[in-house]
C-alpha cells in the first residue's frame, strides 16, 4: 500500500495549537455548504499527505465553502481545500488551509478543533444555472475560483461528507497530532451539479505545485445544520493511522 510522504517538519510551524481535546460540540444552524470535487494526479498528491495517511484510489480534492449566518462569534464563512485520502480503513481528508473571515471564529476553530485557520474570505454567488465560489486571502487576493453548474435537487441521504484531519500541536504536551474532525450534518435541502475548478493558487494553499487536477467529479450544495463534534480521535502524523490512532473523547 502507498502511504503519504509529506515531511511533517515542513508544515509543523504553521500548525495551530489545540487546547486539549475536551471541547464541547457546537451546533451551527442555517448553514450553507458548497463542495466542489476533482480528481488529482497520484504522482504529486502522495507528497501532500502525512505518512499517517494513505492516498485514496484515485486521489481527489475538495473545495468546501461554508457560510454560517449565526454563531457564538457572529456570522462567518470558511473556505477550505482538502485532499481526500484514508486513515486506516476510513476516508479522511487533509485540510491545507481554512480561510476564515471572522477572527474570533478563526481563533476558536483552531483552538478547539485544530483547524488550520488563516484570515481570508469565502463567498458563494448563487445564480440560476450555477453557484460561483470565490476564496480570497486577507489582502483580497484570489486563491481559489470554482463553480457548481446545472444544479439539481437530490436527497441529503445521498451525500457522504468526508471527515478532516487537522495537523495541530497539543498545548498540554507540545506534541504534533492529526486531529480527526467529523462534523454531523442535518440537511434541509441539497443540490448537486457539475464541478468546475477555474483557478487554484497553489502557493497560497501550500501545495507546492503538486496538485494536478485531472478529472472533475461533482459538486454539492446543501442547506443544513452543521454540528462540530467533540474531538474523539487523534493520531501521530508520522505513523500509520491504523497503529497510532488514539481515542481521546
Amino acid at each position: 500500500m502507498r502511504f503519504g510522504t509529506l515531511d511533517i517538519n515542513e508544515i509543523a510551524a504553521a500548525a495551530p495549537e489545540i487546547d486539549g481535546y475536551g471541547t464541547e460540540p457546537l451546533s451551527l444552524k442555517n448553514a450553507q455548504v458548497l463542495n466542489v470535487t476533482s480528481e488529482v494526479s497520484a504522482a504529486g498528491s502522495d507528497a501532500l499527505l502525512p505518512p499517517a495517511m494513505n492516498p485514496s484510489i484515485p486521489p481527489y480534492v475538495e473545495c468546501t465553502v461554508m457560510v454560517f449566518p449565526d454563531s457564538p462569534w457572529g456570522p462567518f464563512t470558511t473556505g477550505e481545500l482538502r485532499l481526500v485520502g484514508r486513515a486506516g480503513f476510513r476516508p479522511r481528508a487533509r485540510t491545507f488551509k481554512t480561510y476564515v473571515d471572522n477572527p474570533k471564529a478563526a481563533a476558536e476553530l483552531a483552538r478547539r478543533w485544530g483547524f488550520p485557520a488563516v484570515p481570508g474570505k469565502a463567498m458563494l454567488h448563487p445564480r440560476h444555472e450555477r453557484i460561483v465560489v470565490e476564496i480570497n486571502d486577507e489582502r483580497g487576493r484570489r486563491v481559489l475560483d470554482a463553480e457548481m453548474m446545472d444544479r439539481e435537487p437530490i436527497s441529503g441521504s445521498e451525500i457522504q461528507y468526508i471527515a478532516s484531519m487537522h495537523l495541530a500541536r497539543n498545548r498540554a504536551d507540545g506534541k504534533l497530532v492529526l486531529v480527526q474532525v467529523d462534523p454531523e450534518y442535518v440537511f434541509t435541502k441539497v443540490d448537486r451539479g457539475f464541478s468546475h475548478f477555474i483557478y487554484i493558487d497553489q502557493e497560497a494553499w501550500g501545495t507546492k505545485g503538486l496538485l494536478s487536477l485531472t478529472n472533475p467529479i461533482i459538486s454539492t450544495w446543501a442547506q443544513c445544520e452543521v454540528i462540530l463534534p467533540k474531538v474523539r480521535y487523534v493520531c501521530d502524523p508520522n505513523r500509520n493511522a491504523l497503529e497510532s490512532t488514539v481515542k481521546v473523547g
Partner: protein, 387 residues
C-alpha cells in the same frame, strides 16, 4: 420455460478470485499471482469445489488486477475438467463492454469450457472504475437491466435485432452460440440493498459479492426467496440459486488458521477501503450502499466467536469450518464462495493446503444432504415455473 435444474447436492462451494497484487510491483508480480491462482483453481477442481469465479475490476491498484476475466476463466477452463467457471461479474455498462461483445465472448467461453459457464452480471460500484470509463453512475442500473433482458435472446435466436434505450443493432447473427442449452445460468451481483429483489424478480441467481455478516445475508436471502416465486424471468431458464461470499483459510492447527485467516481478512478489508466507492464521491440514489466498505468494517468489528473469528467466516480447522458453514446451510444458501487469498499474504503452499483440507474434511459433510430449506424453496419455484 424450463424449471430450475434438479440439484444433487446441498451446499456447493466456490473459489472467488480478485487477483490482488501487492506493491512493490516487479515484472513478475502479476505473473506469479495469476499462476498461483490457476494452480489454486486446478486444485479446487480436483478436491471437489464446484465453482471458480473471477471478478471484473479495472484500475483498482493492488486490490484487484483482474480486468480481463474472460481470459483468466478460459485459462482455468483449459486446466480443469469439472469445476464451473463464473463471471463474478461481467460489468453491464456500455462504456466498459458493448452488449454484443458480452454475448459473444461468454458464448466462446461456454464452448471452450464445454458448457461450464456461469454468467454473473453487475454494474460496478466504484467511482474509480465508473469515473475511469466516464460512465454515468445514475445510468448503470438501467443499462444493466437492458443488458440482462437482451442477453438470452442474443444467445438463443438465430438472428437478432434490437432497438433499445441504451443501445441498438440491426438484424445480425450473433455468433457463436453458447454450448449450454438454452443458455448459461445468469446471476446478479448483490451488493446494494434491494438488488436481491432485482435478481429474484428477473429469475436470476443472487450472487453475493459483499462481505456481509450472516444475519444480513440471511435477510437478503429471505427477500429473494419471497420474490422469486413470482418472477418474470429474463432468460429461458430460472436460476433460483443464492450464493454468499466469505473468506476461507483452513489449517490443521486451529490457532494458526485463525491468525493467518483473520490477518488476510483484515488486510483485504484495508485494501478495499482505499478505493473510492461511488457513494463516497458521487451522490446518487443509484448507489445506496457504499459497496464493500461498511460490510468489511462491520464484519471486522462485529460479533465473533470466542476465538475471535468474525461470524460466518470460514477460518479455522476443518471442524470449526464445518460448524460455520452449517449455519450458512441452515439459513438456506445454495452455495458459498470463498476468497482464499489477499495480497499474496498467505504463502501459496498454505493456500493449497487449505484447499486440500477443505476438500478432504469439509466438503464431505455437505454432499447429498439437501437441506429442507433449500429443497422447499426450489420446489416452490419449480411448481410456479416463474410467473
Amino acid at each position: 420455460m424450463l424449471p430450475p435444474k434438479e440439484e444433487t447436492t446441498a451446499m456447493k462451494f466456490g473459489i472467488f478470485f480478485e487477483l490482488s497484487v501487492p506493491r512493490p510491483w516487479t515484472r513478475d508480480s502479476e505473473r506469479i499471482v495469476y499462476e498461483n491462482a490457476l494452480e489454486q483453481a486446478a486444485l479446487a477442481d480436483e478436491v471437489g469445489f464446484d465453482y471458480a469465479w473471477a471478478v471484473e475490476h479495472h484500475f483498482l491498484e493492488e486490490y484487484s488486477h483482474c480486468s480481463a476475466p474472460e481470459l483468466f476463466l478460459t485459462a482455468i477452463a483449459m486446466k480443469t475438467k469439472r469445476i464451473r467457471v463464473g463471471h463474478g461479474i461481467v460489468v453491464c455498462v456500455p462504456e466498459y463492454t458493448h452488449p454484443i461483445k458480452v454475448a459473444e465472448r461468454t458464448a466462446v467461453l461456454d464452448i471452450l469450457s464445454r458448457g461450464r459457464l456461469e454468467v454473473g452480471t453487475g454494474r460496478s460500484a466504484t467511482w474509480c472504475e465508473l469515473g475511469g470509463f466516464r460512465a454515468n453512475p445514475d445510468e448503470t442500473k438501467k443499462t444493466w437491466d437492458e443488458y440482462v433482458h437482451c442477453l438470452p435472446d442474443m444467445w438463443t435466436k438465430e438472428r437478432y435485432s434490437y432497438q433499445g434505450r441504451v443501445w441498438s443493432m440491426p438484424e445480425r447473427a450473433i455468433l457463436p452460440k453458447p454450448y449450454q442449452k438454452p443458455h448459461p445460468p445468469m446471476w446478479v451481483a448483490v451488493t446494494s440493498p434491494g438488488t436481491e429483489i432485482d435478481a429474484a424478480d428477473r429469475g436470476m441467481g443472487a450472487l453475493g459479492i459483499s462481505y456481509d455478516p450472516l444475519p444480513v445475508q440471511e435477510k437478503k436471502l429471505q427477500e429473494y426467496r419471497r420474490h422469486i416465486k413470482n418472477c418474470e424471468p429474463v432468460g429461458q431458464v430460472i436460476n433460483n440459486n443464492c450464493a454468499a461470499l466469505t473468506f476461507l483459510f483452513c489449517n490443521e492447527d486451529d490457532k494458526f488458521a485463525i491468525k493467518q485467516g483473520t490477518g488476510m481478512f483484515m488486510q483485504f478489508g484495508l485494501l478495499a477501503n482505499q478505493i473510492v466507492m461511488c457513494r463516497e464521491a458521487y451522490p446518487t440514489k443509484a448507489y445506496a450502499s457504499a459497496g464493500l466498505l461498511p460490510a468489511v468494517r462491520s464484519q471486522a468489528q462485529g460479533p465473533s466467536d470466542n476465538a475471535g473469528v468474525p461470524e460466518g467466516v470460514a477460518i479455522g480447522d476443518p471442524e470449526r469450518i464445518v460448524k460455520t458453514l452449517k449455519k450458512w446451510e441452515s439459513a438456506g444458501f445454495d452455495s458459498i464462495n470463498f476468497l482464499t487469498q489477499a495480497v499474496e499474504m498467505i504463502p501459496q503452499e498454505q493456500v493449497l493446503n487449505s484447499l486440500r483440507l477443505f476438500g478432504k474434511h469439509v466438503i464431505p459433510h455437505f454432499k447429498r444432504e439437501q437441506s429442507a430449506a433449500q429443497g422447499a424453496a426450489r420446489e416452490d419455484v419449480a411448481a410456479a415455473g416463474g410467473r
